[in-house]
């Protein structure tokens, strides 16, 4: 980019910004690290919590347009029951799918590459049952035609990934992980959840797990992150059983790094103690610095 192009871009960007002071700040730091907003909704009624969180995040209309193809990346990796905290809570997934259809979605698709056998993971997690009758489709992509290889130009260790086409070809991509401890990655939050969307995820461990998590997140960018922290596995993750805690929270945001940084606090950890949060912050994927994140706490 030469100086003239830069000035042009800056002028266009500047026109869109109301406050000149903000404009000056935006020039100093790359946009994602400039801060982020994370909404934390506490309560016991999961559908009501989701509804409140979506209101705060800008309303369903901001994410799901009429006839949109919505793809939801949940965590349905393990053949364990909902209370174990190994998978995203089925009630949350159901509430999301119903509301997405109500908001005008044409389809809600949930591609997932589970760790345990798919049939049992989907049924024991309660997710298959919760989705019955909603019209949403949970499935394990298996055929070659259900994947596309995606180049990761900014990837340090991960140069390409084999991603389900539904993750790539959708109008609205939402990441809905469950927060839990993880034996290899320390915690698994939103960024790590994408491992269930790479057919060759085994190779991540051979390269450098934390860097590969970050690399994947440079190309796959969800419109919204909703972290299930209704119950969290403090130890024994990702499969469990482990020691449980019950924060009864949903963490929503557009910035995946910021959401993970806030969620790390539920485990008594500092964001940058998790290598992939630190690396993602440094790579400018989002803001992992709690001092720069605006956390909006509400209860329902």
């Amino acid at each position: 980019m030469n100086r003239r192009d830069f000035l042009k871009t800056a002028a266009v960007a500047g026109a869109g910004l109301a406050a000149p002071r903000l404009f000056a700040e935006a020039l100093q730091a790359p946009p994602p690290a400039a801060g982020a907003t994370v909404w934390v909704v506490q309560g016991k009624d999961i559908p009501a919590m989701l509804a409140k969180g979506m209101d705060l995040a800008g309303g369903w209309g901001a994410f799901v347009k009429k006839d949109a193809r919505v793809t939801l990346k949940v965590n349905a990796a393990w053949a364990v029951e909902p209370q174990g905290g190994g998978n995203t809570h089925p009630d949350l997934i159901k509430a999301f799918c119903l509301a997405a259809f109500a908001a005008g979605a044409k389809s809600v698709t949930l591609p997932e590459l589970p760790c345990a056998p798919a049939a049992q993971s989907f049924s024991m997690s309660g997710i298959e049952g919760a989705l019955k009758g909603t019209g949403a489709r949970l499935y394990k992509p298996e055929k070659a035609s259900e994947f596309r290889t995606v180049a990761i130009p900014k990837g340090v260790d991960l140069k390409e990934a084999s991603v389900p086409t539904d993750v790539l070809d959708c109008d609205c991509l939402v990441n809905m992980p469950v927060a839990k401890s993880h034996s290899g990655a320390k915690l698994t939050l939103s960024m790590k959840n994408w491992m269930g969307s790479d057919k060759n995820r085994g190779s991540w461990h051979r390269k450098n797990l934390h860097q590969c998590i970050v690399d994947y997140n440079t190309v796959i960018k969800p419109a919204l992150v909703i972290i299930d922290a209704t119950r969290i596995m403090l130890t024994g993750g990702p499969r469990g059983p482990g020691k449980m805690a019950f924060p009864e929270k949903l963490i929503l945001g557009r910035d995946t790094v910021a959401c993970d940084a806030v969620a790390a606090g539920l485990f008594g950890m500092k964001p940058f103690d998790i290598p992939h949060i630190r690396l993602a912050h440094e790579a400018g994927i989002g803001c992992g610095d709690l001092a720069l994140i605006k956390v909006v706490d509400v209860s329902v």
Partner: protein, 395 residues
């Protein structure tokens, strides 16, 4: 004497089709796989005899056994699917019919040997039972087809070839189940004759005892002569290794029942006596903690029925970490996939230079292979299940 005189052929065809459907396990009820083979007294009853145990399906052989006294080869002509196929093959070569008359009745000796050796605990040649052969053929065509599977189908194909070259030879001279029925019918005839006409009292033939005794001794000693192989992992609930090899009829029901395709026929790893007996090999999947399908399928009791809690308390072997291959131990990488995938929390972490490294707790390890299956180390997994013998874990 036939019970179903006019539609005999049709009835026989229908049971052959049903047997094939059951053998292919297209009927979604796990115990169905063992129903048809259990009809053979040589499989169910002699299995129960050898194991000194009892299970309901083994009783299916009782009516077949008893029918042998009354109706000559009723089972062969109405229910036996191998009999149906052998008969059909023989019809293709009608000119060669009855060219076997000079053959000795090997099947009779075989049946006696099977029963005698079963009574002593290690049945001999169960794999020659016609229902085991039939099941083996249909079990072998599992998708994706693996190199080890077709040998399981060869026994049945051989029967068809024999029947084509020498019609009726298999059924009338070689088949142990057919000849057993001949023996039973002969005995029944004598009993009836004794009762009605006061003929000479039926005395047990010397031949019978000789056969039983010789078979029993052969069952005890023959397997010991076979070259020894290495220890292998067996399906959950497998009988002790020495008995397993002889008790298994090579019907393939367990490997067909396994949804994760980890059971394959052994091609000699465990020695000649264990040829084609099922073994577990991890690579495509692991022994899923919510599954006990193979334990439902076995007609001979070589694999005993297990409840899910019992299966989950059983170790098939024990996982061992090979540190020199391990991404965490050797290369200092964040991995712990073995701990992540372990359904029994048997892998724990110790820290080495700030990175978690795996250690197996042998008291918790079930040898299910989840760790081995997903270990990302290449080439060669850094955690593998060793065949340390099946054992029930404490607690």
């Amino acid at each position: 004497m036939s019970l179903f005189r006019p539609p005999r052929r049709l009835f026989h065809l229908a049971s052959a089709i049903l047997a094939a459907l059951l053998a292919m396990q297209l009927i979604p009820w796990e115990p169905a796989a063992s129903l048809f083979p259990s009809l053979s007294p040589l499989l169910g009853l002699s299995g129960a005899l050898a194991k000194r145990a009892f299970w309901p399906a083994a009783l299916l052989g009782v009516p077949v056994f008893l029918s042998g006294f009354v109706h000559k080869r009723w089972f062969c002509f109405h229910l036996c699917p191998t009999g149906y196929c052998a008969e059909a093959a023989g019809k293709l070569n009608a000119s060669a019919a009855n060219r076997f008359a000079a053959w000795p009745r090997l099947g009779g000796w075989l049946a006696l040997a099977i029963l005698g050796s079963a009574a002593l605990g290690s049945p001999l040649a169960l794999g020659l039972d016609p229902l085991a052969l039939f099941n083996g053929f249909f079990s072998a065509w599992r998708r994706p087809l693996e190199a080890g599977l077709p040998p399981l189908a060869t026994g049945f194909l051989l029967v068809l070839l024999i029947s084509l070259a020498r019609p009726h030879l298999w059924c009338l001279r070689l088949c142990p189940l057919g000849s057993l029925q001949d023996t039973l019918h002969e005995t029944g005839r004598r009993i009836r004759a004794f009762r009605t006409a006061g003929e000479e009292a039926p005395k047990a033939e010397r031949r019978l005892f000789l056969g039983l005794a010789a078979g029993g001794l052969a069952g005890l000693f023959l397997p010991r002569l076979a070259p020894r192989g290495n220890a292998v992992l067996r399906p959950p609930g497998a009988a002790p290794e020495s008995q397993f090899k002889s008790l298994c009829a090579r019907c393939g029901a367990c490997l067909r029942a396994c949804p994760y395709h980890i059971i394959t026929p052994d091609l000699g790893e465990a020695g000649a006596a264990g040829l084609l007996a099922p073994r577990i090999q991890y690579g495509q999947g692991y022994c899923f903690e919510q599954c006990k399908a193979c334990t439902e399928a076995c007609p001979t009791g070589a694999i005993r029925h297990l409840t899910l809690p019992a299966k989950r308390q059983l170790a098939l072997g024990t996982a061992v970490v090979e540190k020199h291959r391990c991404l965490a131990w050797q290369d200092g990488l964040y991995c712990m996939v073995c701990q992540e995938f372990c359904p029994y929390s048997a892998v724990s972490a110790v820290e080495q230079k700030g990175v978690n490294c795996p250690v197996v707790n042998a008291d918790l390890c079930r040898g299910c292979g989840a760790c081995q299956n997903d270990c990302p180390a290449r080439p060669g997994r850094a955690i593998t299940v060793r065949p340390t013998g099946q054992h029930v874990l404490p607690g």
